[in-house]
């Protein structure tokens, strides 16, 4: 029976508020790494803000905004080795950028173009998962299977608060505990599932309280504090690597943007609470921390932003330069050995399309 710490009550924090609450530090993170983390945050933030604009311009389709989720994405991935795998939810569509995936790839996904479908093995990033919570068993199976093969690979799976209500979460977490899979179940608790508040999702005191039911530790961290997210994930990854099994991390934040470009949160969200959160959004919070620490200058920050913007300019240009997809792609890749009917269907389709 695995040793279980009771889930934490308070939220782990490192970054102070510049006033009463003092700044902390993460052992082992030097200036370069602190800057690298800032670069990651800016990259994701820029991707997100540009995407909303591209959507308005009709250059990409519906888009799931992740503004103010960057600290959870960047902080958790920063705690991984390159060989570790990430299993993103649709909310984490751009997480591959942190692994060197071109922006054009993710933009193409949102443009409904085949160039948006990558080979997970190229980045150790699984496909964007649209059905809520269903990627959790995938991550668990991958982690368990890697361990069986004697490979030192950890998997992290990102999902939301709403996802914890799905049977897929439960069955994935159950397997993770039993198989002692080296996996991190990373929950972004932004307190909303589209228009459904956490209070309508579960009666559990905290989401981390679910962890003990799977025999794994449950950590709670401020999801807007990239350093706290990093440190908690690092701890979970170390536990996984040591063969001590899975960890559930609840990162608490608040969704301040619409669920997606098609959504109108004014119908349900607490604007007051959202305004507060916006003023304390995760990228600015970290930037102010670095300034206080004297690790980041105006110029560096500006340069990093410019770099990210440039990357997006290139990205959208490349995405828009993609040649139209050939109809053969309707049939290709569905099977390694397709049933004979598919080739006949393609021929007929070509004949009709002329």
């Amino acid at each position: 029976m695995s040793q279980v710490l009771p889930a934490e009550g308070g939220l782990r924090r490192i970054i102070g508020d510049g006033e009463s609450r003092p700044d902390g530090e993460v052992e082992g993170l030097g200036p370069e790494q602190l800057l690298a983390l800032f670069r990651d945050l800016v990259l994701l933030r820029t991707y997100d803000e540009r995407s909303v604009i591209y959507h308005r311009q009709g250059r990409i389709g519906t888009y799931a905004i992740f503004w103010n989720h960057e600290a959870m994405q960047a902080g958790s991935v920063f705690a991984l080795e390159e060989r570790d795998w990430v299993f993103p939810s649709y909310r984490d569509s751009a997480i591959g950028l942190l692994r060197g995936m071109p922006a054009s790839t993710v933009l193409s996904w949102w443009r409904g173009h085949p160039a948006g479908w990558w080979n997970p093995e190229d980045y150790n990033v699984a496909s964007i998962c649209v059905p809520i919570a269903t990627q959790i068993p995938h991550a668990v199976g991958f982690a368990w299977g890697s361990r069986l093969k004697g490979e030192d690979r950890v998997a992290i799976v990102n999902f939301g608060d709403g996802a914890t209500s799905e049977g897929s979460f439960h069955e994935g977490a159950t397997f993770a505990g039993v198989m002692k899979a080296p996996v991190v179940l990373f929950c972004n608790n932004n307190q909303w599932a589209i228009s459904t508040p956490l209070s309508a999702q579960t009666a559990a005191p905290t989401l981390a309280d679910k962890a003990i039911g799977y025999g794994m530790p449950g950590l709670r961290v401020d999801g807007g504090d990239v350093l706290a997210v990093y440190e908690a994930t690092r701890e979970a990854v170390a536990r996984a690597r040591a063969g001590d099994g899975p960890t559930f991390i609840e990162a608490v934040t608040y969704r301040v943007a619409p669920h997606a470009t098609a959504d109108d949160p004014s119908l349900y969200i607490d604007e007051e609470r959202a305004r507060e959160e916006r003023e304390n959004e995760c990228v600015g919070r970290y930037e102010r921390y670095l300034r206080r620490l004297g690790v980041l200058t105006e110029e560096q920050a500006a340069a990093i932003r410019a770099e990210a913007l440039e990357l997006m300019r290139v990205g959208i240009a490349q995405a828009e330069a993609e040649p139209p997809a050939d109809v053969s792609l309707v049939f290709e890749h569905a099977y390694a050995n397709p049933p004979p009917t598919l080739a006949i269907d393609l021929d007929e389709l070509r004949r009709i399309l002329g």
Partner: protein, 324 residues
């Protein structure tokens, strides 16, 4: 009569039926405060309260599973599945319980629940917002399936489904939620399940369709005027199925083309073709052609127009059955 969009006709039906029968409740993800991601349930929570228009946890099997229990407590739950492909977690409850529980009680208890969802493609959406799952539902014993293609039918078939003592799955073609506009009777309006609709009379070939494919069939029929006289039959309800109208039409035309968005193998078009091969074999003067989605995953949207049956593909099939 007032002119409504299809999605508003759905909303109208829910208002009228909840008004009429206090045991009707609506439940699903985001159906309450938000009024549903397509606004199909807008206004219901304000009108009938949060206890009769319920924002549920994000758990489809839980929604359908608790709905079974709600029926046993005397409710008539109308469950929304947010999208077609997100209804699959509930298939287990649907197959093993929704379709079997009445039988288990030897007919003593009824399970008058309704499962309604937007379905179908061509909406330029991310993956898994485009499925046509009717086969999974219609193959399941104990469950009925209705699919409207007009605002009036969207209201009338949903009303019939809500009043029906058996479980009914209503698939709403999301592509035409706002594209289809038409006159809808005000107040109570019921379109009985199991009655197909002859959309257009013709003498050479019967084009059988449902949902968003009815519009495609109609446009093909128009485009072929002169070359071929096409009868367009809107099935409206797959189970019960109006076999009489189907057989009568094919007896007249001697030719049939069946259109569906879903993959071909074991799709409903295959069922229609099989019925014709059994009961209209001597009326048929040519092959029965199925124009369907392909037996591959529904593609990214830049290619979806090549996947969903197009006017060109349907017209080509019509020409081929007549040429044969």
């Amino acid at each position: 009569m007032k002119e409504l969009m299809l999605v508003d006709a759905v909303n109208d039906a829910l208002h009228v039926e909840m008004e009429r029968d206090p045991s009707v409740l609506v439940m699903g993800e985001d159906v309450g405060r938000l009024g549903g991601v397509f606004r199909a349930t807008a206004g219901l929570q304000d009108r009938f309260g949060a206890e009769r228009c319920i924002d549920t946890p994000l758990a489809e099997a839980g929604i359908i599973g608790t709905a079974v229990g709600l029926c046993m407590a005397g409710w008539r739950p109308v469950c929304e599945m947010q999208y077609d492909a997100f209804s699959y977690p509930a298939l287990d409850q649907l197959i093993n319980h929704v379709g079997r529980y009445r039988w288990r009680t030897r007919g003593k208890m009824s399970f008058p629940l309704v499962i309604r969802m937007p379905y179908g493609g061509s909406v330029r959406a991310p993956e898994l917002h485009d499925d046509s799952p009717e086969t999974y539902y219609v193959h399941t014993p104990g469950v009925k399936v209705a699919i409207p293609s007009t605002p009036a039918d969207a209201k009338g078939l949903l009303a019939a489904a809500i009043r029906d003592p058996d479980p009914v799955v209503v698939l709403e073609p999301k592509l035409i939620y706002r594209l289809a506009r038409g006159d809808v009777p005000e107040g109570e309006h019921v379109v009985p399940l199991g009655k197909a609709r002859v959309v257009r009379e013709g003498s050479d070939v019967t084009i059988v369709a449902y949902g968003a494919m009815v519009g495609v069939a109609q446009r093909v029929a128009v485009s072929l005027v002169g070359d071929a006289s096409c009868e367009v039959l809107d099935l409206r309800s797959l189970k019960p199925l109006d076999e009489d109208s189907l057989l009568a039409s094919v007896a007249k035309t001697g030719h049939a083309v069946v259109v569906q968005e879903a993959p071909r193998v074991c799709g409903f078009a295959s069922e229609v073709a099989a019925i014709l091969a059994e009961k209209a074999i001597f009326d048929l003067r040519g092959p029965v052609l199925r124009v369907t989605g392909y037996d591959v995953p529904y593609p990214y949207w830049q290619l979806e127009d090549a996947y969903v049956p197009s006017e060109a593909r349907v017209a080509d099939a019509v020409r081929r059955v007549l040429a044969a």
